[in-house]
Symmetry: C2
Subunit: 380 residues, 2 copies
Amino acid sequence: MPPYSCCWISDLSQSLNDRLSAYAAVAADLGVDAVALVPGPNFTRAVIHPFMSHERPFMLVIPAKGDPAALVPNLELRSWDLVGFEGKVFDWRDQDGHDAAFSELMAHLQIGSLGVEGQVMRVFVHHALQKARPNLRIVDAENEISGLRMIKTPEDIAALQEAIDISERALARVLDGVRLGQTEKEIEQSLIQALFAEGAEDQAFHPIVAAGDGSARPHAKARADYAVKSGDALLLDLGARKHGFAADITRTVFLDHATDEAQAVYDTVLRANQKGFEVARAGVTAHQIDDAVIGVLEASPYSDRIRTKTGHGLGRDVHEAPYIMRGNHMVLPAGTVFTNEPGLYQIDNFGVRIEDDVLITDGGCTSLTHFPKELTVLSC
Amino acid sequence: MPPYSCCWISDLSQSLNDRLSAYAAVAADLGVDAVALVPGPNFTRAVIHPFMSHERPFMLVIPAKGDPAALVPNLELRSWDLVGFEGKVFDWRDQDGHDAAFSELMAHLQIGSLGVEGQVMRVFVHHALQKARPNLRIVDAENEISGLRMIKTPEDIAALQEAIDISERALARVLDGVRLGQTEKEIEQSLIQALFAEGAEDQAFHPIVAAGDGSARPHAKARADYAVKSGDALLLDLGARKHGFAADITRTVFLDHATDEAQAVYDTVLRANQKGFEVARAGVTAHQIDDAVIGVLEASPYSDRIRTKTGHGLGRDVHEAPYIMRGNHMVLPAGTVFTNEPGLYQIDNFGVRIEDDVLITDGGCTSLTHFPKELTVLSC
């Protein structure tokens, strides 16, 4: 029944009130009266228990000053009890609709402005808020709210490492079994099964398995009618979820043999990936990393095959801040984890991506991914 | 990398233009200048190919009159080519941001009002639209847009049946293996693996495995520290995804023995479920079905254990229209598929839910679920 993928998480080092205070500080810093969290990675981080949403609005409002309040679907009340929330709760039943609960919540809070997670909150909740309080100023505070997750705690990093280790074991298992004539879809299915067999709580995302010309599409979908053949590039982009954290790794291998062009393209992408490790350290900007990584690709004969930026932050969400791209002048602190995933893609030909998960430290950076990345030709 | 779970779909009986025309008609009926689709079940249905979104806005706009247009992340252009879309495309790169693409799209379309999927579109897209065209009237057209999916085609029903059959085989496999002393989490993991082993393309949702007092929470999360014991109720709520369609079934069994109370509660829920099959037929309202089903529970000694409505529509989305609840006076046509899932839940004691997937026909209804539902006591 519940479509929101959810896992218990491990960081119990702070109390609920400590965690909520940090969101109150975000509201104060932003100059809004409160911030709202809806089910998703920030909500899970805040209340420790995962909740789903879907057609039922579910919201936690943390004012800059004063006590938090929550709007909770009636059928979740018994699960909500586990959170230990001390603020006022406004519940509603499906049969009655949620309008009255929104009105009561807004009347209780008496706020004029609200920071929300623009990437998570859906329009029907936005409209319900506006209906309940027509003059409410709704501000997209995605960056500020999710920003609290950017610097990873030791517990976060341990969870990420576990998710990555599971993913690497699954990848090794699948590459061992690849045979010419299998379809992309068959390889995808074996990859998903291997993730769970290796201990994933869930998939962090639906994996990408793309061979031959399919690998030229950065977000290709596995084809049931494409059988892998000798000489194909085979790109696998996968991630386990563990303790609420998402891995995200990519390797590209070649089947039976790699052409000179394939070797040269692979070498270029690998040098760009290595450049990322050379430049990443606390104090550099996202722009600087992307500029260095993409610069390697641009200086190659394959600059017309660049389709993507260097990468993105990684944590409870597969894509989160910081986005590693030119123009993003955010200074990266120690504890940031991002994907270093340069790629080159030529339509009707092939694509190569190499993706590692990188932890920024004071003196430099550490790869949380350890899967080999020298050019690999599978005999199959 | 992509967090939107996606699958190829099978219905190719209409052309892209035919399918888009239906959305144009929705706009005309609603009196808005256009409707917008963002990645999700309606978008997948419209363009046949699945796309994901996440931090990148991606939108298809279908005017009531005139040609559709699309806003597409640059790195998806090569995948978008596969759609065969003939309208104008406004793309943007991460490095440049999407504001210019929104402005150009809005300048091109010259619309004053736009119907959107309130349950799918997120606030950051809403804000980008408002920024590009401050006077744009944004209307929540979720019901009307998703309403096009309510009557299932024969291809839809075949896909649903396949997803349900996979789910039932997985459930049978897992129930065979349940042993006292296993944790809820262990059973959950074996259930997920069984779904894929039986042919699921994906999970329709993270399954619920709840035993003993956990079963009293309708949306319980599997516990790693709860070992199932003799006398426990064991509730399993699961669904495979196949060809883009989601199954959703629940069975509750008892381990080693069932108390008199458990038997009486189970019998009550089963009678409510059976009542659903008696009353469902084309022409009844959602209200009438819920009233009959919940009426059975209300007439029992366990009326204080009612926490949920009868169920929800089922198709590309696990929860979709029609919602089977009192107050929803929508008349249900033949071809509607809904979950018939009455339950009784007593906190600190146990819960029972029996959930079937039901197809409404002219003369009555058909269960797409065939898993036995007489009271089952597992010897384990």
